[in-house]
């Protein structure tokens, strides 16, 4: 079965992830699973003993010592994760999701999502963005970016607070990538029935053509479509538009044109992920 995966890690974003994951699962009629990964960071040494000598049975003793340390850490992490998952599951049940499941895995988030990719329909992940009250505070989403680079399924990156999406916008550039994004939104049950704004940065005849195409495509599926063009710097213009028109969600495509671009996710995507105050649905 294709599931919605809500990634819970115990930070302040987990509650929001739970709400958005429940909302997505209900919209798509898909089963919901909460995922908590225990990353023991095996690449970092937990002990260091510089005595540099080899006693009788040195190897077994070291193995035992390391295994015990790992077991202690895993046990704590496991209990912590179980509590988080149980909380998320009961919250999702309250919100009306049928039988939300939980899963705990060892490894990194990217690795685990990669292993689960076959069964995944949508990944819901926490995201941090610039707080309007403290705009100079640096914000980084390294883990989110790594997941977006590695996982080829739609990723819903949440905002700080939950608000049931009532209208959304598609950042559209008229490229084949952009067209594919529009087609996929049109075909998905996730956003069906919500008013949509298709926004292009940069005006001109070709932009108008592309917007016309997007309108036809979406209207054919029964969407209520508004189109708009903006000038100037793409990241800023899209962010301003989202705020002005009180958008609840922004869809962006992150397809790469070349292999390198494919690997790197564009700088526009990175900036939008950092600045937009609403959830971002990244389609690859």
């Amino acid at each position: 079965m294709n599931k919605v995966i809500g990634c819970i890690d115990g930070t302040e974003t987990s509650a929001t992830v739970c709400e958005y994951a429940a909302w997505s699962a209900q919209r798509m009629g898909a089963p919901l699973e909460f995922l908590h990964v225990i990353d023991r960071h095996q690449e970092v040494a937990p002990v260091s003993d510089f005595s540099g000598n080899l006693k009788v049975g040195a190897q077994e003793e070291l193995l035992q010592q390391l295994a015990e340390l790992d077991a202690q850490r895993s046990k704590l992490a496991q209990e912590h994760g179980r509590i988080l998952i149980d909380a998320a599951r009961s919250r999702a049940s309250e919100l009306g999701v049928k039988a939300p499941e939980g899963r705990q895995r060892h490894g990194t988030l990217v690795e685990t999502l990669g292993e689960m990719e076959e069964d995944t329909r949508l990944v819901v992940l926490g995201r941090r963005h610039v707080d309007p009250a403290a705009p100079d505070q640096p914000v980084q989403n390294h883990r989110l970016e790594r997941v977006i680079r590695a996982i080829h399924k739609p990723i819903l990156a949440t905002a700080a607070h939950y608000k049931t999406p009532e209208r959304f916008m598609i950042a559209f550039d008229g490229s084949p990538t952009g067209r594919k994004t529009v087609e996929r939104v049109a075909a998905s049950p996730l956003l069906v029935g919500l008013p949509v704004h298709v926004v292009t940065v940069g005006s001109g005849a070709s932009a108008d053509d592309a917007l016309g195409w997007a309108r036809t495509e979406l209207e054919a599926r029964g969407f209520d479509v508004t189109t708009a063009t903006r000038d100037g710097d793409a990241e800023r213009a899209l962010g301003d538009y989202a705020t002005e028109h009180a958008m609840d969600l922004v869809v962006i495509g992150a397809y790469g044109h070349s292999r390198i671009r494919h690997l790197m996710i564009g700088s526009t995507t990175t900036t939008l992920l950092r600045t937009l105050p609403v959830p971002v649905l990244v389609l690859r």
Partner: protein, 493 residues
């Protein structure tokens, strides 16, 4: 890919740097001691340790594992060095590397699964015994001063960690014993007496040998054994490090990496090396996990040796002997002695046979070969016992029904034949093999003989329930089902 590089190299910088330093300090005495075992100047082992460690840091498949000049490899070179000299050793080192790369390409690392736990234990114990035995010449016909120094060195090595774990105790041993020897002007042998130490950075050089078939004939047998032992110890160590760190490694990459490192080592005047069990354990214990620790161990080693060569030359051999005794004690698997009684006798025999052959021949490859062969024979013997032939009579004593259960192959073909009663006068025999499997042509041959023997007594034979794989073997190799069965079995006369 960038993720992997970052994880392998830069995720544990502090731990790797400190561990690299501890390992480098421990590598110096070992490299010198192994050079002496091989019969070459200490600088050959020191250059080898530098180049093995640095190259394997980039090319190896197991981050956190330390490779350098090793005792296992040094023991194999003794005759080559004695009879043909250093240049042939360098050429053999390069050839070893080439063979190891080929082995990696051919995925010979997969053969490691035939090396059982008992053989691995035997290998490790034999290695420890050989390292210990190699120290004995330094301890025979010497003054009491040497014994006192060695004992004092061992005391520091084992007792100092009870006071502090922040300085490597082997280093303290070396510093203290060297200081005492220099201060009291003791007349003991020092590293400087054993041959040349490095006084400059290593340089690229092509081994000075005639490039012809004769040379190849000389070095090839050595390179082949070096290749086998190098890969064996490296893959065993990789498994140990896998277990200690609870992570996986790329064994194929390790084989090719060892090859690359040996080629590089041969061209800068170093002797062949491989992964080191003891050093890798020290590295993990000191907090090393990434590739950085091995790289830094090599780099630190070279810097220390080149700039401190006058001091290194003053190290008394007794200090090295103490360190090497520690290495051999730490490498030996002491629990295996206790387990001799607990384990099945066949496992203990395999382990002991491996040790005995290695200690007798000084060749780890032969020991492993004997161990693997013995394990195979014991296994065949055990599986061969899983064969039952039972019988009952049907149809008022006119038909005998034989039920065969188990594995029929070369080791159980005798049991299979013995299960039939050919003297019985009976009309028909039914052999039910649905719960048996025929593995090889010995098994098929036994089946043929049984069928034909019955036929000669004018008994009709019917075989039922042959499984697919056995069926194929029977179709290809059996003769009882071919028209001229009896003649062919009798040799066609």
């Amino acid at each position: 890919m960038f993720q992997t590089i970052r994880k392998d190299w830069f995720s544990n910088i502090r731990g790797d740097t400190l561990a690299g330093l501890v390992v480098a300090l421990a590598l110096i005495p070992e490299a010198i001691a192994f050079s002496i075992i091989a019969g070459v100047d200490p600088k050959v082992g020191l250059y080898a340790s530098f180049s093995m460690a640095v190259v394997i840091a980039f090319t190896g498949g197991r981050p956190g594992m330390i490779s350098a000049a090793t005792g296992a490899m040094a023991l194999l070179m003794v005759t080559l060095v004695k009879e043909h000299g250093l240049q042939y050793l360098l050429a053999a080192t390069v050839l070893t590397g080439v063979l190891q790369i080929a082995a990696g390409m051919l995925r010979l690392d997969l053969l490691m699964r035939f090396v059982s736990r008992s053989v691995v234990t035997g290998f490790v114990n034999a290695l420890a015994i050989l390292i210990f035995m190699a120290q004995l010449p330094e301890l025979t016909n010497v003054t009491w001063v040497v014994y006192a120094m060695t004992a004092g060195g061992l005391a520091i090595i084992y007792l100092l960690p009870m006071v502090t774990k922040s300085i490597p105790s082997p280093l303290v041993t070396i510093v203290v014993l060297t200081a005492i020897a220099m201060w009291l002007n003791l007349d003991v042998r020092t590293v400087g007496d054993m041959g040349e130490l490095p006084d400059s950075l290593p340089m690229f050089l092509i081994p000075d040998i005639p490039l012809n078939f004769e040379t190849l004939a000389i070095i090839f047998p050595y390179s082949l054994t070096l290749m086998v032992v190098g890969l064996l110890e490296s893959l065993m160590t990789a498994t140990i490090v896998d277990d200690l760190t609870d992570t996986n490694s790329d064994k194929r990459r390790e084989c090719i990496g060892q090859g690359t490192a040996n080629i590089a080592t041969g061209f800068i005047g170093g002797m062949a090396g491989c992964a080191m069990i003891g050093q890798s354990v020290i590295n993990i214990k000191s907090g090393g996990r990434g590739r950085l620790s091995c790289l830094l161990a090599g780099a630190f080693l070279l810097i220390m040796v080149v700039f401190l060569d006058e001091w290194v030359a003053q190290i008394p051999m007794a200090a090295l002997v103490a360190v090497m005794i520690m290495v051999s004690i730490g490498t030996f698997d002491w629990s295996s002695i206790r387990k001799l009684r607990e384990h099945p006798p066949s496992s203990s025999i395999v382990m002991i046979a491996t040790v005995v052959v290695v200690v007798a021949t000084h060749d780890l490859a032969r020991g492993v070969l004997v161990g693997v062969l013995l394990s195979g024979i014991f296994f065949a013997h055990k599986v061969g016992r899983v064969l039952r032939v039972t019988s009952r009579t049907d149809d008022h004593g006119r038909v005998r029904h034989y039920q065969i259960t188990g594995e029929v192959f070369f080791a159980s073909a005798g049991t299979f034949m013995a299960g039939f009663d050919f003297k019985e006068v009976i009309e028909r025999v039914r052999i039910d093999v649905s719960r048996a499997h025929f593995w090889d042509i010995t098994a098929i041959d036994a089946l043929d003989r049984a069928v034909i023997k019955f036929r000669r007594e004018a008994t009709e034979v019917e075989i039922i329930g042959l499984d697919e794989a056995s069926r194929t073997l029977v179709d290809r190799f059996a003769i009882h089902d071919k028209p001229d069965a009896v003649e062919r079995l009798m040799g066609g006369h």
